[in-house]
Amino acid sequence: MNKHIRVPMDMETAKSLRAGDYVYLSGTVYTARDAAHKRMDETLREDGALPFDIKGQIVYYMGPSPARGGRPIGSAGPTTASRMDKYTPRLLDLGMGAMIGKGKRSQEVIDAIVRNGAVYFAAVGGAGALLSKCITSSEVIAYDDLGTEAVRRLNIENFPVIVVVDSKGSNLYETAVEEYRRTEDGER
């Protein structure tokens, strides 16, 4: 089902999404990947404050290539989400509303998604040029020294994603693959 959603979104909207929904997101999201997650985790361990109020916000696992003159951003597709799994349950428990990435999540992350009524979206991996066209502005808001891994606030417009793990714990990566699998080792 195709849906258009303003982000950040409220809990009811997040809970209404189902694995397999094709969603176009418009609004604000924040980027963070490996190094930013590590730093945010260290901050939380020292009882510090995150660089942005994460409650209800969407975190996009992405480190862009540099922008050419006049453009808001360079190539900007998703990175592999599982590298953030170690840090994710804590962020979800702090109220993070959704994540955009690609690839599998750990059971701990899926449990935290269900516990908090959150959602995990996948964007198409390897489509960074196309996705950059859906980003209208980009501003580094923290960890500038991390270069591509800095935390950025992005404005996005009709950014295409697919719901992979919904608030009930359904996982599209598992169900969709079943449909096309011939046998365990791929034999006919």
Binding site: A35, M62, G63, P64, S65, P66, A67, R68, R71, G74, S75, A76, G77, T79, T80, S82, K102, G103, K104, A122, V124, G125, G126, A127, G128, A129, L130, L131, S132, K133, L146, G147, T148, E149, P160, I162, V164, L172, Y173, T175, A176, V177, E178, E179, Y180, R181, R182, T183, D185, G186, E187, R188
Partner: protein
């Protein structure tokens, strides 16, 4: 007769090759992707493949890298033994080419100086350089910037000789099944069989630079390439890992003699972009 080549000419070529490889899909990969769009059975899978094609058009027209992960620069250089290199060190020249290419091409700087301290070098150097001395007076350069979404899903297995062909097939299928959606399918699967631990990994990397859709000249290896491609596409992973009949665009296997006690198998996975570009100077 000795031919003299200035290393700055090598740097200039590498600079251009880094930019070209990150914005324009290699022709063999383009053909493989076109075939995939036609044969994919899943409607969502076809939609994802069409988005990848659209992405390639935008990348080439607007000079936006195909993927934000513009890779760690892997550079193969075959230097003819009748060539004399002048003007500085070859490795410095390669790194200078990478530095210039990644700066001037607006490519992402993704390399950290130390694997555990993890401070970004901010110019994407150093490259990973594989040099070979070969007969002749030419220099063949292959630039293959490698993204890590797929690199991370690569594997090496030190099998026992008794495990044989079935063991090799299982190793490849295990690696691809575990990679699933993480490696940005549809993928290219480079396989190395034989050699030693490190030679085997290098064979797999070199296999990725072989034309997609080409086959090993060894008949039983060619059969294995075809059978494995069919089995991988039977795993159901599909484009984006969201289900489908096209999980891999090609399986390329390179082999090498090995030890009586061993059967090393390396699987190097790459996404559909599989950047590889070659020049002879």
């Amino acid at each position: 007769m000795i031919r003299t080549v200035e290393v700055k000419d090598i740097a200039a070529n590498i600079r251009e090759m880094c930019i070209e490889a990150n914005h324009f899909l290699a022709p063999d990969m383009g053909r493989a992707l076109n075939r995939a769009v036609i044969s994919e059975k899943s409607p969502l899978g076809r939609q994802i493949l069409r988005r990848l094609e659209e992405n390639l058009e935008i990348a080439a027209e607007d000079m936006i890298p195909i993927c934000q992960d513009t890779g760690m620069a892997v550079v193969f250089i075959e230097v003819g033994q009748d060539v004399h290199l002048e003007g500085g060190s070859l490795e410095d020249a390669v790194n200078e080419g990478v530095r210039q290419g990644y700066a001037e091409g607006f490519l992402r700087k993704s390399v950290v100086r130390d694997p555990l301290i993890r401070e970004n070098t901010k110019d994407n150097t150093p490259a990973v350089i594989h040099t070979r001395i070969v007969p002749g007076k030419q220099i063949k350069i292959t630039v293959a910037p490698k993204g890590f979404g797929s690199e991370n899903m690569s594997r090496i297995f030190m099998l026992k000789p008794a495990e044989g062909v079935e063991g090799v097939k299982n190793a490849v299928l295990t690696a691809v099944r575990d990679a699933g959606p993480n490696a940005c399918p549809p993928m290219v699967v480079g396989v190395g069989i034989g050699g030693t631990f490190e030679k085997c990994a290098l064979l797999a990397k070199e296999a990725l630079t072989r034309e997609a859709g080409s086959h090993s000249p060894i008949p039983y290896v060619k059969e294995m390439e075809e059978e494995l491609l069919d089995k991988i596409n039977g795993l159901g992973i599909g484009p984006g890992g969201l289900g489908g009949t096209i999980t891999a665009l090609a399986v390329n296997i390179n082999t090498y003699p090995t030890h009586i006690a061993g059967l090393p198998v390396a699987i190097n996975i790459c996404c559909h972009v599989n950047r590889h570009i070659e020049r002879t100077i």
